[in-house]
């Protein structure tokens, strides 16, 4: 990757004529040069379109039962364009296509919400701890260490059991931990930013601490934060899928990739392989794309880290 960009830089007409390029223009160039990352972005766009508009292509809803197929699902419930069950039906005769649309929505939403919470809370927390430093920093990071040393999944399941298993509780639970890693990363980055000349200059002319954090620290964290947020999305999706796989996450008729994979796996021996195949394909392909996208963004935005 780096060889390509440097080779290109020599030939770049803008550079030859002495015109500067912004950090973001540079990043965009590097990103667009990474074929795997661009392809991943396209795939993810398709998955997102599928989640948003896929429901319009089918007459079936995710909760409706096709009574014609009940009792003969292994023989007749497979993918079939004629009955308009594009992905077949599940063990109770519900349209799998509509269910995958629904599951994709929830899984993507969980990933995005988790990442957003981590961006907002984690960045703020890490920037404050790193910039203020001293005892405050010590106490704040100790708390993060403490939270991270707990087997969180069990506590979350405890929370889900006690406060009813709703999607909102799931979001709250995921939000409670998703920011921990981000806080560490943001703090590490802040530690190096706080010693730069421009921060020193800002301090010298009497800019207040909250203002320095907002105006100078946070904008310079954005590159790293975007990269890790992208890598967090698949982690959050895996996290939610894990809970839903155990039947402790989203509740029927709502579903998610994890819940669908679970149902497919539970019916492995019943001759309905499409029930596992379609959700699994969506899960694996989207996660692959997310990881490659994250890698591409890291190469583009954070060229030091190699």
């Amino acid at each position: 990757m780096s060889d390509v960009t440097t080779a290109e830089a020599h030939l770049d007409p803008d550079l030859l004529h002495g015109k500067g390029r912004s950090l973001w223009a540079d990043a965009r160039r590097r990103f667009l040069g990474n074929k795997a990352a661009v392809a991943s972005l396209l795939i993810l766009a398709l998955v997102a379109l599928f989640a948003l508009f896929g429901q319009f292509l089918t007459p079936w809803s995710n909760a409706e039962i096709d009574w014609n197929l009940l009792g003969a699902i292994p023989q007749e419930g497979g993918p079939d364009l004629e009955t308009r069950h594009y992905f077949g039906v599940d063990e109770t005769g519900r349209d799998l296509y509509a269910r995958v649309v629904q599951g994709t929505r929830i899984s993507l939403a969980v990933g995005i919400v988790g990442a957003l919470i981590s961006v907002v809370v984690g960045t703020a927390y890490g920037a404050v701890a790193g910039y203020v430093g001293g005892k405050t920093d010590n106490a704040m990071m100790r708390f993060v260490d403490l939270m991270m040393s707990i087997p969180y999944m069990f506590v979350l399941i405890l929370l889900l059991v006690i406060f009813s298993r709703s999607i909102i509780m799931l979001f709250v639970g995921i939000g409670l931990i998703s920011w921990l890693d981000m806080a560490r990363i943001a703090r590490g980055q802040t530690l190096s930013i706080r010693n730069t000349e421009y921060v020193e200059a800002a301090r010298a002319i009497g800019v207040s601490t909250p203002m320095i954090i907002r105006r100078h620290i946070v904008p310079n964290l954005i590159g790293v934060v975007i990269v890790y947020a992208t890598l967090l999305v698949p982690q959050m999706i895996i996290f939610e899928s894990f809970i839903s796989f155990l039947g402790l996450g989203v509740q029927e008729p709502a579903t998610s990739w994890g819940a669908l994979i679970n149902q497919g796996a539970a019916n492995l021996r019943n001759g309905t392989p499409w029930m596992l195949g379609f959700p699994l394909a969506f899960f694996v392909v989207s996660l692959f794309a997310l990881f490659f996208l994250g890698d591409g963004l890291r190469d583009a935005l954070d060229p030091k880290d190699r």
Binding site: L146, S149, I150, P151, Y152, M153, F154, V155, I157, L158, L159, L160, V161, I162, F163, P234, I238, S241, F242, F245, L246, G247, L248, G258, I261, N262, G264, A265, L268, R269, P273, L276, L280, F283, V284, L287, F288, F291
Partner: protein, 307 residues
């Protein structure tokens, strides 16, 4: 070293106590009673039940008793839904199963991961390296709950080589699939970490010196490169352990091993709070203890750390 361990213990023990108290309070604030049924229970019976399980005492008293029983005798109290069985009985029944395949998963993940990563780094840019990178990238999207059904589909339903569930006292063929399903993604992460840190180490000055003085490559790697290259791996062992403990729940449920995770999920579905609480605390204690071990190991390996 002793003072370092003591100081780490001074953090670990309050963490554990905080976890116990926090989980206990959560359980207290849960709505409904574990004895509530649809038909309703006569008040007299309810009072007797509450007296039997100690629910008629004050919150502080109950918490004190609960914590004291755990600290003094690892006694997690009775189960609410299995009458005549204590949480300890359930743990005693399920834990050995989970421990058996969990132990092997950990060993496999570390041994295979380190070997694969180290060889990939030593033969940098060879076919082996590319294959290793391919495997580790692929395994990222195959967490345990994805691996388990795929493995059963291939090895049980298509090839018919291995049983797709059960335990049978831990015979080897019942252990293989759970171990592969649980260890794959961690093996991949360990391989990736080992590869990148080994590559860095092999380019370091002291490795060049060792080679310049004529040591054979084998000795350079085993005596000089391997130890510093292991540091990032050691610090990953903590998160890997947490991940495997958590993943064991999926394995127990999917393969019906009768392990502790099966009890955990069943209790979560039937709101058997004391069992959930006991298992959460047990796994919390294991995690905290393991993190302590990792820290000590890290301090022992890394000469730069002062304690």
């Amino acid at each position: 070293m002793t003072s370092f361990i003591l100081r780490r213990l001074a953090v670990a023990i309050p963490t554990l106590l905080a976890l116990i108290v926090f989980s206990f309070l959560l359980m207290e604030f849960s709505p409904g009673s574990p004895f509530a049924t649809e038909r309703g229970i006569p008040p007299a019976v309810m009072a007797n039940l509450e007296a039997k399980y100690g629910l008629d005492r004050s919150l502080i008293e109950r918490m004190g008793i609960y914590v004291w029983n755990i600290v003094s005798g690892f006694d997690f109290g009775p189960s609410f839904s299995f009458s005549n069985r204590s949480v300890n009985d359930i743990i005693a029944q399920g834990f050995p199963v989970t421990l058996t395949y969990g132990f092997w998963s950990f060993v496999v993940a570390v041994l295979v991961g380190v070997t694969l990563g180290a060889f990939a780094a030593i033969r940098h840019n060879s076919v082996l390296d590319y294959a290793a990178v391919g495997v580790t990238v692929g395994a990222q999207v195959l967490p345990n709950f994805v691996m388990a059904p795929i493995l059963v589909l291939v090895f049980t339903l298509w090839l018919g080589w291995l049983p797709g569930g059960g335990w049978q006292g831990g015979q080897i063929e019942y252990i293989i699939l759970p171990v592969i399903a649980l260890s794959t993604s961690y093996m991949a992460s360990i391989a990736r970490i080992t590869r990148s840190s080994m590559l860095e180490t092999l380019n370091a000055g002291f490795v060049r010196t060792a080679r310049a003085k004529g040591l054979p490559m084998r000795r350079v790697i085993l005596r000089h490169a391997l130890k510093p290259a292991m540091l990032p791996v050691v610090s990953y062992l903590g998160p890997a352990f947490v991940g495997m403990i958590t993943g064991s729940v999926v394995i127990d449920v999917f393969f019906s091993t009768g392990g502790i995770g099966q009890f955990f999920v069943n209790s979560a579905l039937s709101r058997d709070y004391s069992v959930i609480l006991g298992i959460t605390i047990l796994f919390g204690a294991l995690t905290i203890f393991f993190n302590l071990l990792v820290d000590v190991a890290y301090a022992w390996i890394d000469p730069k750390i002062r304690y």
